[in-house]
Homo-oligomer: 171 residues x 2
């Protein structure tokens, strides 16, 4: 995901590594900043794969910046990424695994695990709601990101209810 983000940012405008890091963080509302190192390693891979090319640009003081721009292949790869939908349905859920194993092993109280998960979700939702109204801190677009997270948490809460009724109800 980082690599594609970098490609997209470079498509907006050629940039150097540090710029890319801050731009990417801004895109995500600076709530979960990327490690700088990861940006440099990701760009290195993009360069290795011929998707971006570096240009050394001199600055006023005689230092240099490595400014990256897209190659043809990079542009094509970005287009491919834009075209294909995001795939995220893995039928391998950690909470389901935890609940099932707790129930079968009897090593932990499945009901308690479920209630703790619900409490954690509710708290996260409250934190997100607070973050959402901190309008001075975040750009307006980030509100949409937060609302997405809230919608997903709500869905997970509904699922927890289902699990409670159908997995723990008839015990």
């Amino acid at each position: 995901m980082i690599k594609e983000g970098l490609l997209g940012l470079i498509a907006l405008q050629p940039m150097h590594g540090y710029d890319l890091k801050t731009a990417l963080d801004r895109l995500f509302g600076r709530t979960t900043p990327v490690n700088v190192g990861q940006v440099y390693t990701a760009i290195a891979k993009l360069e290795r794969d011929g998707l971006v090319r570096a240009e050394r640009v001199a600055r006023a003081d005689r230092s240099e910046l490595k400014v990256f721009h897209l190659t043809e292949n990079g542009s094509a790869e970005l287009q491919r990424w834009f075209r294909e939908p995001v795939e995220k349905v893995a039928l391998r859920d950690e909470f389901f695994l935890k609940l099932t194993l707790a129930r079968r092993s009897g090593q932990a109280d499945a009901g308690q695990i479920l209630r703790r998960q619900r409490a954690a979700h509710i708290q996260t939702m409250q934190e997100l709601t607070i973050l959402k109204s901190a309008e001075t801190e975040i750009e307006p677009e980030i509100v949409l990101l937060i609302e997405g997270a809230i919608l997903h948490l709500e869905a997970d809460l509904r699922w927890l209810e289902l699990l409670e009724r159908r997995m723990l109800g008839t015990q």
Copy 2:
């Protein structure tokens, strides 16, 4: 997640690597089987960290099995995993990134990206619904896993509507 699953399975009963692989696959309904190799490397790490211990067990034919059982530390680690809720809110969504970059760069039609994602989700939901009714293929518990995935997809569809109205509506 694999490591914790293995710990939990070993807590049910000491098992060897191949057994663990098939048991883990059964837990997830054999829809997304784990690669065997990953199971062996994961167990190797659990053993290295002193969470499981191997015991060589002779079989009828003079071959041997490596049967793993939990150590004290392994049991404690499993308890810790049972206790702590699953954390999964990263405010870094790939679709949001894609849509934002498409819109800003003008290199792709954001509306089309959104419609494609919606279509993909709807198709996945249909596939999941079919899978859910294939009762001979799957264990009843797996239905819950599938319904969870459907709930999450529904939430994502609602979010897509939000994005359409609020990010693309006023263009």
